[in-house]
Symmetry: C2
Subunit: 242 residues, 2 copies
């Protein structure tokens, strides 16, 4: 794990790193020392580890004492994009533009990324928890949209993750994995999501095996998650990891 | 307004009162003085102003600085029950036992109570806000199940109420009133509610005109609202009234 830059503002230290091929960012409270809960942040499709929503969420969690890490998903951000991935992404864009239900195309894309993404996250989790200022504390995952599509297989593979914020995604291709998830989940739905049909979204919530799972829906389209969701998710993580 | 008893425990003062024919309870932080936000608590059907869930919620809110008031709904608790109400209640119990969809019967009962209940709440709100330790601060309403059925017409009639926690009820008889509500709402749903069909519950959420409305659903039957809902609703009221 190699740190390439460190900056600090508003009480939060932000450090860019690479682990093998994986570019990432770690946020911790300024002067942090000792073990603390860690939150993994998975970004959305066509976004990257420092997309504004990801950074705002990371800084908010870190300001409350959490360590937070985000990485670029395979073929996203600072990572090379393969021709094959380019074709899959183009097919998704074309299908969506043509008014097709994108559920199956989205599931194809996530399926193409999931194996690599899960291995990346597991390696990053191990490396980050070796740092003195993070340590082997409780771990949460937060990912919406593509971050949910890659997060669900991660939760199945990774017993160190104890709680998750998921959502903005339908059930296509995920029902079996969802039925193996038992950690507490907050599941975010946008009630008027034009990218994810409501019934597919509710079906993914239904498929989760977690005894504690809260469906948290608000009016508006895919990108309109209200800012107070961030505060509410912080309380969720504090309750389960704090 | 006549206070009939005052007790204090765990930092919260509990005072029973009557206002004309209406029996009620007021909770305030010990030693409270000056204006503070006020929450009106509407209890569920066949319950009363000191049902355990109502008292627990009231004490939690008051411990955070709110004034909280609960009253017995018409024909509930310490209030006389008319023969006509007895017949309506018996019809509801018989219909539910016979496996009928109780939506229409529940709406009949709430419709029978709503006129009186709304007038009671408005009088109590005015009287309580005249107390120095409450004052004319911002007001919220929290009522689930029957507390929602009586709360929706109250919200339509009462512009002093600025935010509400509602839910555990279907749309029967309430669509028109719901479409006149514009204050922020948290709408509580139990995903496996055997008393309120899910689609009727989601239809009532849909019918609310509030630009800010969060659907908050958890697994389990009508009475299984998880304890963390109370903490989350406290944050909602703090955000809007605090």
């Amino acid at each position: 794990m190699r740190f390439t830059s460190t900056t600090s503002s508003d009480g939060v230290t932000e450090q860019f790193f690479t682990l093998d091929e994986i570019p990432g960012v770690l946020w911790t409270p300024d002067g942090a020392s000792g073990t603390r809960p860690l939150i993994l942040l998975g970004h959305g499709g066509r976004q990257h580890k420092t997309a504004p929503g990801t950074v705002a969420r990371a800084r908010r969690y870190a300001a409350e004492g959490f360590a937070v890490v985000a990485i670029d998903a395979p073929h996203h951000g600072d990572r090379p994009q393969s021709e094959e991935f380019g074709r899959i992404a183009a097919a998704l864009r074309a299908g969506t533009a043509a008014g097709e239900d994108p559920g199956a195309l989205v599931a194809d894309m996530h399926g193409h990324l999931a194996g690599r993404a899960v291995a990346d996250w597991r390696a990053v989790l191990t490396a980050v928890q070796r740092l003195d200022r993070v340590g082997a504390g409780p771990v949460g995952y937060c990912g919406l949209s593509m971050g949910c599509g890659l997060g669900i297989p991660l939760l199945v593979a990774e017993p160190r993750i104890r709680a998750a914020v998921l959502g903005l995604l339908g059930v296509h291709g995920l029902a079996e994995d969802a039925a193996r998830i038992t950690v507490p989940v907050r599941f975010v739905v946008q009630w008027d999501d034009r990218l994810v049909p409501r019934d597919q979204s509710l079906a993914l919530y239904d498929a989760l095996a977690s005894p504690e799972k809260t469906l948290y829906a608000n009016p508006g389209n895919h990108g309109d998650v209200p800012s107070f969701e961030l505060d509410d998710s912080l309380r969720f993580f504090t309750r389960h990891l704090g």
